[in-house]
Symmetry: D2
Subunit: 254 residues, 4 copies
C-alpha cells in the first residue's frame, strides 16, 4: 500500500502539478477540488497514464465534515496520509471595504483559515501516532502584507500564516513538517489566474510574461520545491520560504 | 456636541483606561462590553465624577448586528465617532490542537477578526465622509508569532494584523489613522488577566512583577500612548508599534 | 543642573526639532553636527531665545574618539546625559552595485552602524549606573527592506536595527529605553532631503506634497513622538514603531 | 571546462559539504578558508577521491584584495564562477556591550557584511555578463533578531540580510539568483561549533542532541537544500528561507 499525498485544492496549477510530482515519487495522490469533474478526471488520468496512482474527488471544502470524512475514508481505504498539500486560495480580486460583504469576508476565512484548521485537526493526530508527516501550505503575499482591496484575502491569509506557525510549534517536535510557502507572484495556472483574468487577458499575460520569458511561475517547477521541502531531512527543516519569478520584484520592493 | 470615542471591549484594563483618558481630553466616551453591568456602571460613573462624559452599553460583539446598530445609534444620538478603540481579545489560554474545538477556533475569529471587520465596515465610511478619524486596534504578540497552543488566538490575531494593514492602505490617504498596537506582555488588568489566572494567582503576579516593580503593563500608562497615537499629526502617523514592560523580553528574544 | 539631551546629527530637520522640543521640557540640549557652524549656532540661539538651554558642537562622527570625548566632556561639564538621539543618516542616493565603492560602503557603516555602537558603548554604562536613560535611534525604511541601489544604506541600516534590538535586550531590564524609529517617508528637512534634491526640486516637492498637504513629514511633529517615547512609563515601553505621512503608502505596500 | 562553485568559508561543516555536493553535480569546487591547511587538503582530496574536481586555497577574507584577486585568478585559470557560497560567520559568542571591543565589532562587519559586499562586487558583474549565476548566503538567526550579547554578530548579520535584499533587487532580473539562508539552530560542524564549545562539550552536545536524534543540523543535509536552491527554475526562485532541526523551536518561539 502506497503512502498517500492528499491535495486539497487540486486544479491545473500548483495542486495538480504537486499531485503529479508526488505520484512519480511513489505516492498515491488523492486530488480534491470543488468543481470541474472533467478537469479532475483529466488530471487523474494523466497521472495514471504516467504509471502513477491517483484518485480524484470533488470536495466542497467549506461544507461541514467534507474534509474530515474524506480524510477518514482515505485512511481506511487508500492508505496512510503522509503528505498533505493544503492549496486552497481565497483571492477574490481587489475590493474596497464597502464592496467586501460580510459573506465574502467569512468565505475567505472559511476557505483559507478554517479549512486548514479542520484539515490539520483531522490529519495531524494521525501523523503524530505515526511519528511523521508533512503538511505543505500554499500561501501568498497577502499573508505577510495587507494591501488596499485585500481585506478579506489578507485577513484570511494572515490567519493562515500564524496558524501554520502555531501548528509548527506543536507538531515539528513530533516529527511533522509544517511548511508555509509564500507564493509571491502570478502563477501560470489556467484554473485560478486564468479564471480571474478571463481567457483573453490570461493569454496576453502568458505571451508578455510567461512562455519563454519565465515571468509567470511555472507550477511544475513550484512542485519541485514542494517535493524538496517534503524530502528535507528532519535535522534541517524549512518552515517558511518565498517563491517568485526572477523578473518580478519581491513583495517588499514594490 | 462632543466627538465620541467608542471603546469596544471596555473592561477595567486598557479599554476602561482609554475611555477615561479620552473623556478627560473632551471626548464623550462610549464604553461597550459583553457583561458585568456593575463594572461597566462603575467605569461610567468614575468618568462622570471626573467631569467627563460617558455612556455605557452591554454589547455582545459576536451577535449579529450588535456593533452595527450600536454605531448607528451613537452617531444619531450621541455624536460623531471620531475615535474607535477596538479592544476585544481572543485569548483562550494555551490549548493543544486536539483540545481546540471548531467552536473555539471560530469564536476566536468572530471576536478578534470579524468583529473588527464589522466595526471598520460600519465606521470607516462615516469617517471618510468627515475626512478624519482614528481606529486604534489593540493587538498582541500572537499577531506576529504563532506559538504552540495558540492555534485559535494566533490565527485570529494574525488575521487582525493583516486586516489592519489592508484598512490602513485604503483609509490612511482618506485621513483615517489606523494603528495596530502590539501588546507584548502581561497587562495589569483584573477583568482579563485577573480572570484567566484567578484572584489568587493574579494577586501573586502583581506582588512579584507589578506594583512598584512595573513588570506588569499599567493600563493607564498604555492609555497615554493610545492618546498620543490619536494626537499624532497626519504628516507623521504610526501604523504599528509594540509595547512591553522594561523588565520583559521582547517577543523576538524569547 | 539640568539633565542633558544629546543629539548626534542635529540639522534643521528631526535632530534640531527634537533638541528644541526637549529643551522646552527642561533639558539642556546638546546639538552635534558635522558641519555648518552657522546653522548650528542658529539652532542653539533659537532654543535660547525660547528660554531653553542649549550648547552646540561641530562633531565629525566618523573620526576616532570624537563621540567618546564629547560624551565625556558633556558629562563632566554640562550634566548627566539622560537622553541620546542618534540621528545620523547614511543615505547616499540610489547607486547600483558597480557604482557603490568600498569607500561609500564603509562610510555608510561607519556613520549608521559603528557610530551608534560607539555612542552606546560610551553612554549606556553611564545610564546603567544611574538606572535610567533613553536612547532614541532614527532609522529608515532601509532598515527593514533592501532595495535596488541601496546596497550601502540598507546594509548600514539593517545593521543598525539589529544592533538596537541587541542593545534593548541587554539594557531595557536595566532601565534604559532603546527605541528604533522607522522613518518611512520623506521628511521636510532642508539640511538632508533639501541637499540631496537641491533647492529647486526641494521647493517643488514642498509645494506638491508638503505645506498644507502634509505629505512631507514635519520634523516638529516627529519630535512630539520622540518626546512621547521618552516619556513612556517604564511598564509600557515601545521598542519599534514606524512613522509616515497619512498620504504615503507604507513601505510594505509599494 | 567545468563551471566553478566557489565556497568562501569552507570548513568541515556547511561550506565543505556544499563544496562536495556541487562537485558531485559536475562543478569544480573551489574551497577557501582562513586557516588549517591540512583540513583544507583533506576536503579537497576527499572530493577528488569521489571523482570530483576541487581546488583549495587559504584565504584571509578580511585582508585587502584577497577575495578580489582570488576571484580573478579562478575566472582566468579554473573556469567561470557559476555559484558562490558565501559562508563566513561572525559569531564571537555572547559578549555584553562592555566586553564588545571596537575591534570585535569592526571585525564582525568586515567578515559578515563587507566581505560579502566585496565578493558580490567582484562576482555579480561577471555573472551579469553571462546572464546567470547563483549567490548563496549562509546567514543566521542574528540576521532577523538581535539578542543580548549579540551586538557585533547581530549588527553584522542584519547588515548582511539587507544587503542580500538589495543585491536581489538589482540582480534577480538579470538572471542572478541571490538566496539568504537563515540557519536557525546549531550545526553539527566541528570547525565552528566544535571550536566554540571545545571538544568535550561538543561531544556531549552531539550525544545529547545529534547522532540518531537529529537535533543538530547535519551539514550534508543542509547541502541538499543549497543545491536545490541553485537548481530552482528561474520562474520560481526563493530569496529567503529558514532551516532548523525538527526538534528545535523556531527563533520566534523562544
Amino acid at each position: 500500500m502506497k503512502p498517500v499525498c492528499l491535495v486539497i485544492g487540486a486544479g491545473a496549477g500548483i495542486g495538480g502539478s504537486v499531485a503529479k510530482r508526488f505520484a512519480k515519487e511513489g505516492y498515491h495522490s488523492v486530488l480534491c477540488r470543488r468543481s470541474d469533474d472533467e478537469g479532475l478526471k483529466k488530471l487523474v488520468s494523466s497521472i495514471k497514464a504516467d504509471g502513477g496512482e491517483a484518485t480524484g474527488y470533488l470536495l466542497n471544502a467549506i461544507k461541514e465534515n467534507t474534509i474530515e470524512e474524506r480524510i477518514e475514508q482515505i485512511e481506511s481505504e487508500i492508505g496512510p496520509i503522509e503528505v498533505v498539500l493544503f492549496n486552497l486560495g481565497a483571492q477574490v480580486g481587489n475590493k474596497p471595504l464597502e464592496e467586501t460583504t460580510y459573506k465574502i469576508f467569512e468565505l475567505g476565512w472559511r476557505m483559507a483559515t478554517f479549512a486548514l484548521f479542520r484539515t490539520a485537526s483531522a490529519v495531524c493526530p494521525l501523523m503524530e501516532t505515526r511519528g511523521k508527516g508533512t503538511v505543505l501550505v500554499t500561501s501568498s503575499t497577502a499573508a505577510v502584507r495587507g494591501n488596499a482591496g485585500q481585506h478579506s484575502h489578507a485577513a484570511a491569509m494572515g490567519g493562515r500564516r500564524m496558524l501554520c506557525q502555531s501548528l509548527n510549534a506543536q507538531y515539528a517536535p513530533k516529527g511533522i513538517h509544517i511548511a508555509h510557502i509564500v507564493i509571491d507572484g502570478a502563477v501560470d495556472a489556467p484554473d485560478t489566474l486564468g479564471k480571474i483574468l478571463g481567457p483573453e487577458k490570461f493569454q496576453k499575460l502568458r505571451e508578455n510574461k510567461g512562455l519563454d520569458k519565465d515571468g509567470l511561475m511555472l507550477p511544475t517547477k513550484i512542485a519541485d520545491t514542494y517535493l524538496h521541502l517534503h524530502q528535507q531531512h528532519r535535522s534541517v527543516w524549512t518552515h517558511e520560504l518565498d517563491l517568485r519569478a526572477f523578473s518580478d520584484l519581491a513583495w517588499w520592493n514594490h
